[in-house]
Structures are given as C-alpha cells and as structure tokens.
C-alpha cells in the first residue's frame, strides 16, 4: 500500500469534567488508504464518534487531543494551526452526520447551502456556484434538482436530506469522507439507497471513506477493513472478511454472536453479559475483562497492547487464540 491518506496514531482525547477528566479515546490507531473504506464499529460511548471528530477537528469545546498524531495526506493536523486545519476541512476531508435535520441550516434553502462552499472556498461566481450545486444534486440522485434547490430542509424527507448533506460534503472535492452513522436514523429501504449511493460515489470519485456504525451488517456491506472500538480503545483491526470469519478479540466475537443474522436463524442469541464500563473509572487491565467469557488472571494486570495476529490484523487480547478457536468450533456467520 502506498502512503495512507489518513493515519491516526495513538490518539488520545480527553474531556474535562467537573470531577476530573474522562478519556473518551485511548491510544487509538488506524489508517485509511486512498479509495479505501474503513469501518469503525462500536457501541455508544465506545469513542468512535469522538475519534472521528478529532480527525476533522470538530471536537466539542471541553475535549482536547492530549496525545497522538492525526496525519491527513502527509500533514499532521494536531500540530498544524487552525488556519491550516480549516483549509483541509471541506477540501480534503469532509464529514456527514447521523441526523441531517440538525446538521443542515433550517432557514437556508438547500441549494444555497450546497453552493456556499464552491462560492466561498473555490471562489466561484454566484451563478457558477448554483450550476455546481445543481450538478452535485444530480450526482447524489436528488430528483428534480431545480425545484428541490429552493426547498428548505424541513420540506424534504429524511433520505433526501441525507443526500443534500452528502452533496454539501462533496462540494469541496474532498479525498476523504467521514460518515458518522449516516443511515442510523433512516428506514431500511432508505438506508439501502444511501449506502448504494455512497458506494457509487466512491467508485466514481475515488473517495476514501471512514464509516462509523454500530451495525455490523452495514459494515459488512460497505467496508473492506474495520476497526472495532470498545471503551475508548481499538480492540481489533483487520479485513472485514477475515475478522468476521475468525474474530480474535472476545468482544468482536460476542458482538457477532449477539446480532440476529438475517440469513440463519439461531436457536438463541448469545448475549454479552453486563454493560460497557464507565469511562471515568475504566476497569484495570483489559477493559473487557468483566464481561469476557475467556477471562484469566493475567487479564487483570497492566495495560494490554495490540498484538499482531496475522497479515494486516491486530487484537488487544492476551488470549486471542481462544476467541479464534471458539469461532472455528462454531462459525459466527454462515458461509463467511
């Protein structure tokens, strides 16, 4: 692989709280090559959204990057000034959000919202920017763009709003598109349409995508590689097909076993007991140990590093062979 477009190394993000600090992301590392799709999987509170926001420089005011580097196209944005970061945002990296209604400006016509970037950043005239906006709307499959350009966000359906948001994200010709649960708020039929649209755009424009989701099936359909996050840490990375066939972290294994599979009906879903830990006081040693079925004494002491567990794969588990053996005994998904 050539130089990756995005390289996140040992990223650490902390929130200042009244009672101390909370480490929402703890030494997370991942990479995305040009034109590649990386899935970032985890439950709410696992730090996946915070990690994504740190990349694009949209952290809430109480949060700070306290360690690690984020390199976009060779530039370390954590060291760069705000001007440089702003220049990258939109033209190199763009982001789409879960809830288009709150991300769009409710009192501005959607056509003008899409034309804003070409006008302000790319210096196009008002008329040219309008033409660009209509082209972008056509590109993202909005029917009758001329009429829709004059609509306000509330007049559009959820699916169309998400398409508008994608058009805005694409308006600066980014190379990397960060997608934060872009389809979670949508119906399954509309989700399907948006996922196919993103796939088509990726092929046509050679985009790299980072796709954050809690839905493993969505990740399976959209991503080549994935990073699984748990309690602020990346606990497993690798190619989607490899990880799904033979997960090497017990959390990944548990997650795959707990979701109902559309194709194969299991007698009972294997639930993961307990609940994700409180990040203000994470468990000692491995953060998953209180819920882990393979837990042993050595899991409780010291921080667990990411172990190399095969070509392009890593897992943060001392006993990763056990999860893999369990998956070999009973495959997690049929025909994978």
């Amino acid at each position: 692989m050539s130089e990756p477009l995005l390289r996140v190394r040992d990223l650490q993000v902390e929130f200042r709280l009244s009672g101390g600090t909370l480490r929402a992301v703890d030494s997370a590392s991942f990479e995305v090559g040009r034109g590649e799709t990386l899935g970032l999987v985890g439950e709410s509170g696992s730090g996946k959204t915070v990690a994504l926001r740190a990349v694009v420089g949209l952290l809430p005011r109480t949060a700070r990057i306290t360690a690690g580097t984020v390199e976009i196209d060779g530039t370390d944005v954590t060291a760069a000034g705000e001007d440089r970061r702003r220049a990258l945002r939109g033209t190199t990296v763009a982001m789409i959000f879960q809830e288009p209604m709150t991300a769009l400006n409710p009192v501005m016509r959607v056509g003008d919202q899409i034309a804003e970037e070409p006008m302000v950043r790319l210096g196009q005239t008002r008329r040219n920017a309008r033409t660009t906006a209509l082209e972008l709307m056509r590109l993202v499959g909005i029917p009758d763009p001329r009429r829709r350009a004059d609509a306000y966000p509330h007049e559009l359906s959820g699916g169309l709003r998400q398409r508008v948001m994608i058009a805005i994200a694409l308006s600066g010709n980014p190379k990397l598109l960060l997608c934060d649960e872009p389809t979670t708020a949508l119906d399954v039929t509309i989700q399907d349409q948006i996922l196919k649209l993103l796939q088509r755009l990726q092929h046509e424009l050679g985009l790299a995508l980072v796709f954050v989701s809690h839905d493993l099936a969505v990740i399976a359909q959209t991503c080549q590689r994935l990073a699984v996050m748990y309690a602020g840490q990346v606990v497993e990375t690798g190619a989607v097909a490899d990880v799904f066939r033979e997960p090497r972290h017990p959390y990944t294994l548990g997650l795959l076993r707990s979701v109902p599979d559309f194709d194969v009906v299991r007698a009972q879903l294997a639930a993961i007991g307990g609940a994700p830990p409180d990040l203000a006081a994470p468990p000692h040693g491995c953060r998953f140990h209180p819920r882990c079925p393979f837990v042993q004494n050595d899991c409780l002491d010291g921080g667990i590093p990411l172990f190399d567990v095969g070509p392009g794969r890593a897992a943060r588990c001392l006993h990763h062979d056990e999860a893999a053996a369990d998956a070999r005994r009973e495959p997690v998904i049929a025909n994978a």
Binding site: E43, L139, I190, L255, S258, V259, D263, I272, A275, A336
Partner: protein
C-alpha cells in the same frame, strides 16, 4: 388454525388535520391522514406475530389502537369475540399490555420501581395488599433484576435495564397479549440480544401471545412465528415467517428484504431494493398504493385498481398484488427517481 385471540376487522384510524375548519368553510374536502386504512388481522393464541414496515406506515398506530390508546375511526378490535373500544373497563384493559420503544420516556422518572409496580398491582387488585411487596420482587426476578432495584429510580438504570422494568410493568397485570413496539431499537447492540432472549423466555414461560412491531427484519425473523408487512396503512402481505422470508410474493416485501444489509461481507447488488420515498399518507396514490415505487407496475391496471389481500396456494400466505399469484410482468425502473448520470 387455532382459535384467534384478537381479530381486527376493517380497522381504520384516521386523523383530521389542522386547518380543516377553514377548508370546510370554503366547502373543500377535509384533509385526513390515513394512518391505518382498512386492516384485517388475526392473532392466534400463543403465537408471535411480527409487524414490519417503513416509518409512517401505521404500524405503531395499529398497536396503539389495539391497546386502546386511540379510537378507531371505523372497524372493530375484537378480543375473544368481544368488541373493544378505546374506553375499557379495568378488567379488560388488563389483558392487553404494551412495551414501548423508548424506555427513557416511557417510565415515570419520579417514581421508584416499587412505586411503579405497586401502583398497578393495587389499582387492578392483582394480589392481596400484603402480597404486593412479594409480587414486586417476583416480577423483577422474572425479568432478571435483583430486589435491590425496587428502591431505585429509572435514571439509575441503563437502557437495557429500563426496558426490563418496562417489561415487568407490562407483565404486572398478567396480560394475555403483549404488544412490543420496537422494544430493542433504542438499545445498544450488545444489550439487544438479552432483551430479545428475555421476551422469548417469558413467552414460553407465561404462554404469552405477542405482537412484535419492528423495522429490523433480522429481529423479526428471529422472534416471530408469522409476519405481516404493512405499507401506507394496509397489510400488503402476510405469511408464516420462513415462508415470507424465502418466498415473498409482494414486490414491496421483496424490495424490503433485498434492502436489508447482510452479515456476510461483500454481497452487494448495485440497485436499491426499493426506490424513492414512501408517499404521504394524506395524499395516497390511486389504485395500488405501491404502484409509484413498484418495479412491475402495469398501466393502467395498477394505478386504477386497488388489489385486495388474496390467498395463495400455500396455507396462511396472502398478498395484495395483482401479480402475486400469477406470472409476473418484466421488471422496469419506476419513474419516481430520474436516473442520474
């Protein structure tokens, strides 16, 4: 087929929209939102019926009409032969209970778990006064929570635990029919499985009949015995679960199933399962409601004639499509979206 517990006949729930007074003055027709628009449905004793469809198709309203949270505009809800209206005596209300989607808003934040459960047990005289405390503990045990939870308030629990409390509250009245409206969609993935397993256990243990309203097809396939697919206020297909998933006959069901993302990596088709957005339930399409999005719609038949739910050769399988049980016309791309590029 075993005896039906619940029978819906020609059920309609319509909502008049605001601004209708002005329209009436101007002698215009009043605008009506047809949330449920002619549903016939049977639920047999002991079965779990899954009800699926896009948001806005009326599935939640249907559930609410069954429990009595809204009044049907026309048609009837019959429970063991008796017609039920929204106003019910306590004894009848008890038999059908509901679990809502969002356990953060469906529990009273100012009442402890004990207060929530005890109030119900007393009001409905479910157990003698001195046995209320013991019954509260028993209910919590049933949903897998310890007696320590009794004195806690909803905010002290996680989403999954709250949903367990909501289930305990529904079970306090020993209902025969439990309506679960998206019971796991507000929960984290790793917690969803525990709540689904709990519902299955309870169903076996207590012999519950269940109506599971959900948009997640994998969940429905896992839990339901039979599935009904709803589109714009109507049931468009109904079949035993395996049959529906392996041999869907309505183009909408077929599209819906194609739209579900699969766990097997990299098995994607290029075209979307169903194109376009669902039409507004205020201005319904003429003829078959699905025809503007349908890949096999035929003019003028489909835009003029409304197909009825028709039985097929397989027992219990019916579909509301002109071509459900005949040779189907070739698929085309519906015009609702102008193809790009």
């Amino acid at each position: 087929m075993p005896e039906s517990l619940l029978e819906l006949d020609g059920l309609h729930v319509h909502y008049e929209l605001r601004g209708n007074l002005g329209r009436r003055v101007r002698r215009q027709e009043a605008e009506v939102l047809r949330a449920v628009d002619g549903v016939d449905l049977r639920i047999a004793k002991g079965e779990t019926l899954g009800l699926v469809g896009e948001s806005g198709c009326g599935k939640s309203t249907l559930g609410r009409a069954i429990v009595g949270l809204c009044d049907p505009t026309a048609g009837s809800v019959r429970y063991l032969g008796e017609t039920l209206t929204a106003r019910r005596e306590r004894a009848r209300r008890r038999r059908i209970q509901m679990v809502f989607q969002d356990p953060y808003s469906s529990l009273n934040p100012r009442m402890s778990v004990r207060q929530t459960l005890a109030e119900l047990l007393r009001a409905h005289r479910m157990v003698p006064k001195q046995a209320v405390e013991a019954r509260c503990r028993e209910l919590l045990e049933l949903v897998g929570l310890g007696p320590r939870a009794l004195d806690a308030h909803p905010r002290q629990f996680s989403g999954g635990q709250r949903q367990r409390i909501a289930i305990a509250r529904a079970l306090a009245l020993e209902p025969e029919l439990l309506i679960a409206d998206e019971p796991v969609s507000a929960l984290d993935v790793s917690v969803q499985a525990t709540v689904l397993n709990l519902l299955e256990d309870l169903r076996e243990k207590l012999g519950l009949t269940m109506l599971l309203i959900a948009h997640n097809m994998a969940v429905v396939r896992h839990v339901a015995d039979r599935v009904a697919v709803m589109y714009l206020g109507r049931i468009v297909e109904e079949a035993p679960t395996d049959e529906l998933f392996t041999n869907p006959r309505h183009p909408y069901t077929q599209g819906l199933l194609r739209a579900v993302p699969r766990l097997v990596p990299g098995r994607v088709s290029e075209t979307a399962g169903v194109v376009g957005d669902p039409p507004s339930p205020i201005h319904l399409p003429t003829g078959c409601r699905f025809h503007p999005r349908c890949p096999i719609a035929q003019e003028p038949l489909c835009s003029t004639e409304d197909p009825a739910l028709a039985k097929g050769p397989i027992a219990g399988h019916s579909a509301a499509c002109h071509f459900a049980w005949t040779e189907r016309p070739a698929a085309h791309v519906p015009e609702v979206i102008e193809e790009t590029s």
